[in-house]
């Protein structure tokens, strides 16, 4: 649920990075945190275990310029990926405006990707939100493994798998969160469609 402050001329939206454990959600945020100008960014907060797994969420507030005189603030959140933390995921998802689904390109993660997308759908439904109505971008992460000894899934297989679970196709971005390609493209894409949807909701 976007927060619009008319007196401060500010729109705040919440974007959540979702996906199976170890797919690179936190790495996405870390990359943004490293590369973006500190002037447009707040402090990144990470609540993780000592094993570097996200325990609750990571949080990174960003300022993304102005639209029609309104300052756009985007708050990026990640969820813990491990199956065990479903209740925490539900909490982080509350009031979400847009979702980036980070899918793991490794072949062994084919089923976990699908399970995680279904889990997202269920958790949103509990909050009376419909995944097919929500701004969503799919990021195919770990593309840097291509050409190495690790078997990875083709773009086509992954897109078919994930689009098969959705009513309409959504934007798909190829990325390597560790090296950087695709991270800002994903952020740009999700910001664009999220703000568009908030704007549309405002008008109606």
């Amino acid at each position: 649920m976007a927060f619009i402050n008319k007196s401060a001329k500010e729109i705040q939206v919440k974007v959540v990075y979702y996906g199976p454990g170890r797919c690179g959600k936190t790495t996405n945020l870390l990359y943004v945190n490293q590369k973006m100008n500190a002037k447009f960014m707040g402090k990144m907060i990470s609540i993780d275990t000592r094993g570097d797994k996200t325990l609750f969420f990571d949080f990174l507030p960003l300022q993304l310029g102005k639209i029609r005189g309104f300052n756009i603030r985007v708050q990026l959140y990640t969820v813990p990926g491990q199956v065990l933390y479903n209740e925490s995921r539900k909490m982080v998802l509350k009031g979400v405006d847009g979702v980036v689904f980070v899918a793991d390109s490794m072949e062994v993660q084919r089923e976990p990707n699908k399970e995680s997308l279904l889990n997202l759908k269920e958790n949103l439904a509990e909050d009376h939100l419909d995944l097919d109505e929500l701004p969503l971008v799919i990021q195919l992460n770990k593309r840097d493994l291509e050409g190495s000894v690790i078997p990875i899934l083709s773009q086509e297989t992954m897109t078919n798998d994930l689009h098969g679970l959705l009513k309409h196709p959504v934007p798909v971005v190829m990325a390597s969160a560790l090296q950087g390609p695709g991270v800002f493209e994903t952020l740009r894409e999700i910001s664009k469609i999220t703000i568009k949807s908030v704007h549309y909701k405002l008008r109606s």
Binding site: R22, I47, R50, L55, F56, Q82, M106, V108, S148, V149
Partner: protein
């Protein structure tokens, strides 16, 4: 009284494997860098190969377990060959010149398996921290046990008996011992309808979140975490670095008495429960 205990399961096992597989190409490149450095060392200063050979062997150990999980026979064979060569070199059974000759021939093949070279490598000699971490994870995977904490059934029984006798008394409904990552170690008490697994995960997340709040205002942590409900209340406390004790109690019990009891329990648990290995 219904007591339910859960031996810590390998909940992160799969995650560790996924992580090590994802890192395999990067580790392969780090190994190749180390291997080339070793060859250079032998070329420039014969007789000084011991140290870089040790570094290479260390990374090789990680790679071998990753290759085993991957099930790639050709990678396994290549790495096995390197391992033999390196130990023969270490024992002095293989001369440095012979070693370099066979070793160098093999490197391009490994490069092919590592895929495109990343723009930035962690360090020519992969930082020892990364190597140690990865070795630990690889070791745990090799032994088929990736959970960080192992609590024996005997110890669980002992703790459960202690908690039942000393702590679960009038007023205290339930005690949960949870590790930092939200894994339920012990759940004891008469609240049978409790979804203890979810409660444990959320309680750990909540505890970590309040610690972050403490950091933001310049405190190390909050000493007392207490939530008062209409009929029942929650009390959270740390037991050492790795565990959190969650107590659910009736509002008829005084908070002071509860804190006294739980402090004793926490002390007992610190003495008994194993520390995290990693």
């Amino acid at each position: 009284m219904a007591a339910q205990d859960v031996v810590i399961k390998d909940i992160f096992g799969e995650a560790d494997k996924v992580e090590i597989l994802g890192k395999l190409p990067a580790i392969l490149w780090a190994y190749l860098e180390t291997a080339r450095l070793l060859v250079r060392n032998i070329d420039t200063a014969p007789g000084s190969s011991a140290r870089s050979a040790k570094d290479a062997e260390k990374i090789l150990g990680i790679l071998e377990s990753a290759a085993e999980y991957l099930g790639n026979e050709s990678l396994k064979t290549t790495l096995g060959g390197h391992s033999k060569m390196l130990s023969a070199l270490g024992r002095g059974e293989l001369s440095e010149q012979d070693f370099v000759k066979t070793f160098v021939e093999d490197l391009p093949r490994l490069e092919g398996m590592a895929g495109p070279r990343p723009e930035s490598l962690p360090d020519p000699l992969i930082s020892s921290w990364l190597a140690d971490q990865a070795t630990d994870a690889a070791d745990r995977i090799r032994k088929g046990r990736a959970g960080d904490l192992v609590v024996s059934v005997e110890l669980l029984d002992e703790i459960r008996d202690y908690l039942a006798a000393e702590a679960v008394s009038e007023g205290i409904r339930s005690i949960l011992v949870v590790d930092n990552a939200g894994t339920l170690v012990i759940n004891i008490g008469d609240k049978t309808d409790l979804d203890a697994v979810s409660l444990a995960a959320v309680a750990a997340a909540n505890f970590a979140a309040t610690e972050k709040i403490a950091h933001l205002i310049g405190e190390r942590d909050f000493v007392l975490l207490f939530y008062k409900g209409h009929n029942e209340s929650f009390h959270f406390t740390r037991a050492g670095k790795d565990y959190i004790v969650v107590t659910i109690f009736d509002n008829s019990l005084s908070l002071g008495l509860l804190r006294l009891k739980i402090t004793e329990v926490a002390q007992f648990l610190i003495g008994k429960l194993p520390k995290r290995e990693v």
